[in-house]
């Protein structure tokens, strides 16, 4: 009797832990990558300004520039709060022109 009760309590504890992990995971925002095509990027020194301006946005975790493609990848943990207007404004502040923006499909994400 006592042994059965102990096993039941253990099962319940395990269930609660599992539930907490699932709920916790679903409430953590998923990281996403925006790919910005930026016109006017011509050399590495120019790129630092755009990196710094984009990093001022809340939720931005990393900014990577591919100068050959004229692309800026913005990694955010909060994609729902990041708008195209915000990204465009930061590109403009850096002195460049945002041509297009898209959310990277999972397979385009850089590890």
């Amino acid at each position: 009797m006592g042994l059965n009760l102990k096993v039941d309590v253990m099962k319940l504890g395990l269930l609660i832990t599992l539930l907490a992990v699932v709920v916790g995971y679903s409430s953590v925002p998923h990281a996403a990558e925006y790919i910005l095509s930026v016109d006017g990027l011509g050399c590495p020194f120019c790129a630092y300004g755009i990196e710094k301006r984009l990093r001022t946005l809340k939720g931005v975790q990393a900014v990577r520039v591919d100068i050959e493609k004229g692309q800026v990848v913005v990694v955010t943990r909060d994609p729902d709060r990041l708008t195209k207007d915000q990204l465009g404004a930061k590109v403009k502040e850096a002195g460049f022109t945002l041509r297009s923006l898209r959310l990277a499909p999972e397979n385009e994400k850089v590890p």
């Binding site: 095509s37 016109d39 006017g40 990027l41 011509g42 050399c43 590495p44 020194f45 120019c46 790129a47 630092y48 300004g49 755009i50 990196e51 710094k52 301006r53 990577r64 520039v65 591919d66 100068i67 050959e68 493609k69 004229g70 403009k92 502040e93 850096a94 002195g95 460049f96 022109t97 041509r99």
Partner: protein, 309 residues
């Protein structure tokens, strides 16, 4: 087939050079900016760029009998701030390490020298026209500046007050205005600047006004092929600096041995990364058509770094 390819390459090169010359005629830069002028450097809004330049020069080609020689070195600190995406303000403060004039006199070789803080130049550029495209941009920016008499203007030695040319500061409020055109691609950048410098009078001396036409061509030498990311670029730099200065005035009278035409060719290099730039050039005179017995420049070396923060 190979021959026609070669002709095609030559033609492409010819057009590229011609295009550069045309830009130079009508019209300073961006990330890989010119070394001999600062106006071509736009800065992102709210960001700073600091530039430290060291200048060494010698002028010993004296057409007169006293074998004058002027040599010296200076450091020039430049701080740029982006007020808006199009509007940048700069402060330029030169510090003369030493400037020395030596010449023959009846009692032997005379040597006089001075050093100290120079005049602070404040100027601003505004990008009036900007056309961005993938991997490049074209910009036209007028600029306007004022030079405050912050420098030492009354340096003396055992013989008394040093001549105006040796003083670290001018003592006068001077102005500068002009326009700069920049064309940048991933492979090269061309900048051209037309400027006019107004000098005013101080201590009974007025330096002659100066009009300058400067152009800079920066060509990416390495990496030859871009393979993604943000690698450092090594540029070969070729600049040209032409100027005409009117005669100085001393107590209202024109100084006959001052002013004239100077034209320099300036080869060098620039290594550009995302946060800093290393650069160096040497200005070599091609033509110096100076008035009277004005002293001709032998060479000027400019080297330094820039950092974005």
């Amino acid at each position: 087939m190979k021959r026609s390819l070669r002709i095609g390459t030559c033609l492409a090169l010819f057009w590229r050079v011609l295009y550069g010359i045309v830009l130079c005629l009508f019209g300073e830069g961006l990330g890989a900016a010119p070394v001999t002028f600062n106006t071509a450097l736009p800065v992102a809004q709210g960001e700073f760029v600091f530039r430290q330049l060291f200048v060494v020069n010698r002028a010993a080609n004296d057409p007169g009998p006293v074998k004058r020689k002027v040599s010296g070195w200076a450091s020039v600190s430049v701080l740029g701030y982006g007020v808006s995406p199009r509007w940048t303000v700069f402060g330029v403060l030169p510090v003369v390490g030493e400037k020395t004039l030596s010449r023959d006199t009846s009692t032997g070789r005379e040597r006089r020298s001075a050093g100290g803080i120079g005049d602070l130049l404040l100027f601003s550029r505004y990008t009036l026209y900007q056309r961005d495209r993938p991997g490049g941009t074209f910009r036209i920016a007028p600029f306007l500046g004022v030079e405050a008499p912050t420098g030492q203007e009354d340096a003396r030695d055992s013989q008394g007050r040093l001549p105006p040319d040796l003083q670290p500061g001018s003592g006068s409020w001077d102005g500068t205005a002009g326009v700069v055109i920049s064309r940048q691609t991933l492979a090269y950048q061309i900048d051209a600047q037309l400027s006019y410098r107004f000098n005013s009078k101080a201590n009974h001396f007025k330096a002659g006004d100066r009009v300058s036409l400067d152009a800079s061509w920066q060509y990416r030498l390495w990496p030859r092929q871009l393979k993604g990311g943000l690698p450092g670029f090594l540029y070969g730099v070729l600049e040209t600096n032409a100027s005409h200065q009117w005669k100085n005035k001393i107590s209202g009278h024109r100084e006959p041995d001052s002013g004239g035409w100077r034209w320099f060719i300036t080869p060098g290099f620039q290594y550009v990364t995302r946060r800093w730039v290393l650069e160096g050039v040497v200005q070599l005179p091609v033509l110096q058509n100076l008035n009277g017995q004005a002293l001709e420049q032998d060479w000027i070396v400019r080297t330094g770094f820039r950092i974005a923060f």
